[in-house]
């Protein structure tokens, strides 16, 4: 069994309109490997090609060039769909149905028969906290409840791979935390999660690795801790004179002095104590020492604005 849940090789998707001379490349030569059992964040600005890639992985659209494999099989193979599931962004479900009926509907698509079907539906309603609303029509559900029912339909087949498009978008903080916890719980059960999201703080908290797409191209790929390495510590001190600037700069920090107030951005590499010693030795008074961790948002903005390609 392959240890890859998803693999794309030079995946390209080109859209050419009937009258347009210039085709639009939604995805360009995408090479991606997602390992089994990891939570993989798939990021990018709007129009970066994330949803197009997901649609290719699900067999909803076909690649122009290149190959895509899901759980070792060519993407779109319906037999493979017994092992995967998908939650689209802002999903719509038949709103005349109740929560129980919609899950029963999706269970029937998998050919799950009674009494197993009712057992699974009840378990899932309980798991996503919708047992009490199970017999209410979906049109009475809040956005958070609909997102939960969306996740429940994703779990009806006990999938190996879950592809989630914006699973926490538009949710209130409590629903947000619940969904995030559920995602972590699924990872602990050994499932692979491929998450496309603009909620970068969520991605940073739950994902093991991320890929950033821009204009259809892969521009960053790696483990979160590796990509976010390089934080700094901000040191502010008063009553400092000009002669401390040079020794601090020699330690690799960015130092500036205005009216006796010193502001230093020092790499978080063990040299912070030495900067503090220099300031104190010069008669300065430390006002604050504040660590700044690089966030995924910083990385995202830097990557997209930089336009670098891996």
């Amino acid at each position: 069994m392959s240890d890859l849940a998803i693999k794309t090789v030079n995946l390209t998707k080109r859209y050419s309109g009937l009258w347009s001379k210039h085709p639009v490349e939604a995805v360009k030569n995408l090479n991606l490997e997602v390992y089994r059992g990891e939570i993989f964040g798939f990021l990018g600005p709007n129009g970066a090609g994330k949803t197009t890639t997901i649609k290719i992985l699900l067999g909803i659209i076909y690649p122009t060039e290149g190959e895509a494999y899901v759980l070792g099989q060519p993407a779109g193979d319906p037999k493979n769909h017994y092992k995967i599931s998908y939650l689209p962004e802002n999903p719509y479900f038949y709103d005349y149905m109740t929560g129980r009926e919609i899950l029963t509907f999706y269970a029937r698509l998998f050919g799950i028969t009674e009494p197993e079907r009712s057992k699974r539906v009840n378990e899932l309603l309980d798991r996503v906290g919708l047992s009490r609303a199970a017999d209410q029509p979906l049109r009475t559900y809040s956005k958070g409840m609909l997102q939960r029912i969306g996740l429940a339909q994703c779990l009806i087949n006990d999938p190996e791979l879950l592809i989630l498009d914006e699973p926490t978008a538009g949710l209130d903080p409590i629903a947000h935390i619940d969904i995030r916890d559920l995602i972590l719980e699924l990872r602990n059960q050994g499932k692979t999660l491929f998450i496309s999201s603009h909620q970068l703080s969520d991605v940073e908290r739950v994902c093991d690795r991320v890929a950033i797409l821009n204009k259809g191209m892969l521009v960053r790929l790696g483990k979160i801790e590796e990509l976010l390495a390089g934080g700094y510590v901000e040191i502010i001190a008063d009553k400092v004179t000009n002669n401390v600037l040079e020794p601090i700069r020699q330690l690799g920090g960015k130092a500036s002095l205005h009216d006796g107030r010193l502001i230093v951005e020092q790499p978080d590499d063990g040299s912070v104590d030495r900067v503090i010693d220099i300031v104190r030795a010069a008669g300065g008074h430390i006002v604050s020492v504040k660590p700044y961790r690089r966030t995924l948002e910083d990385l995202f903005v830097e990557t997209i604005q930089g336009g670098k390609s891996v």
């Binding site: 699900l58 769909h81 599931s85 999903p91 038949y94 698509l109 050919g111």
Partner: protein
């Protein structure tokens, strides 16, 4: 099969709750209910013909509107709302989706025809004092006519927008009702050149003949004489089924290649 039936059930459940379809059904039921009131205008045996023809006319019109309005949105709406992504990402083949949609539409039409048929039978029984033997075969013919129209609309919906589909399907229905009579007329006329006759003949072959289903209406087709009504009904229904199968196969082939 389970997936197809599940999709058909969901389609039926959604369609029978559509307000526009309920309004059309209710208006049709109301007109059918009051149709016996028009009987006295014809007088004598003509009253029976008028009541039956009028009722059939209303049922056919309602069935046509229901089939077109319901089916134009069946597939495009699923794509627009992204429901189709949650369905096709399950072990559901695209042909099962198209079949499920069609069976759901036919189920809805069956339900609507049943409602109209019951009211029609009650109204005619009250007005005429007996059940008219033409009503049930007539309803069956119109039901198959609407089912064939539903297949036409679903076929177009796999590659054109709903707005274009309204006009295309409406046009095909209109031509399918008129072409065979038109062809007979021009074939009787020796002055018509092959340049005019051949395209009409071709269109008559390609487009479904919806006029075949209208024989129960003696006002519209007074010249029609059917010697064996049972054989004719069976033959026409078989024609509808063959045509529906052809349209569904084409729909599935197109939908299989479609990118959403």
């Amino acid at each position: 099969m389970n997936a197809t039936l599940a999709i058909a059930g969901a389609t039926f459940g959604e369609a029978v709750r559509k307000r526009i379809l309920i309004v059309i059904l209710l208006i049709a039921l109301l007109i059918i209910l009051i149709s016996p009131a028009f009987g006295p205008f014809a007088g004598g045996r003509g009253a029976r013909t008028l009541i039956i023809s009028f009722g059939f006319g209303v049922i056919q019109l309602a069935g046509t509107f229901i089939a077109i309005i319901m089916c134009t949105g069946l597939i495009p709406t699923e794509i627009e709302r992204r429901t189709i992504y949650t369905i096709l990402s399950k072990p559901v083949q695209r042909y099962q989706f198209v079949l499920g949609k069609f069976f759901g539409a036919v189920g809805t039409l069956g339900f609507m025809y049943l409602m109209m048929g019951i009211v029609f039978l009650i109204a005619t029984r009250l007005a005429l004092g007996e059940f008219d033997g033409r009503i049930i075969p007539g309803l069956l013919m119109f039901f198959f006519q609407s089912s064939l129209l539903a297949a036409v609309v679903i076929f177009f919906s796999t590659f054109v927008s709903p707005l274009v589909n309204y006009f295309l399907s409406g046009g095909v229905f209109l031509l399918g009702n008129l072409l065979s009579s038109f062809l007979e007329t021009i074939q009787r006329n020796p002055e018509v050149t092959p340049i005019t006759r051949i395209p009409v003949q071709l269109l008559t072959i390609i487009l479904p003949n919806f006029a075949n289903f209208n024989v129960q209406n003696p006002i519209i087709n007074p010249e029609q004489v059917i010697t064996d009504p049972v054989a004719y009904t069976v033959q026409t229904i078989a024609y509808a089924i063959v045509y529906i199968v052809m349209l569904l196969v084409l729909s599935m082939l197109i939908f299989n290649q479609r990118e959403m």
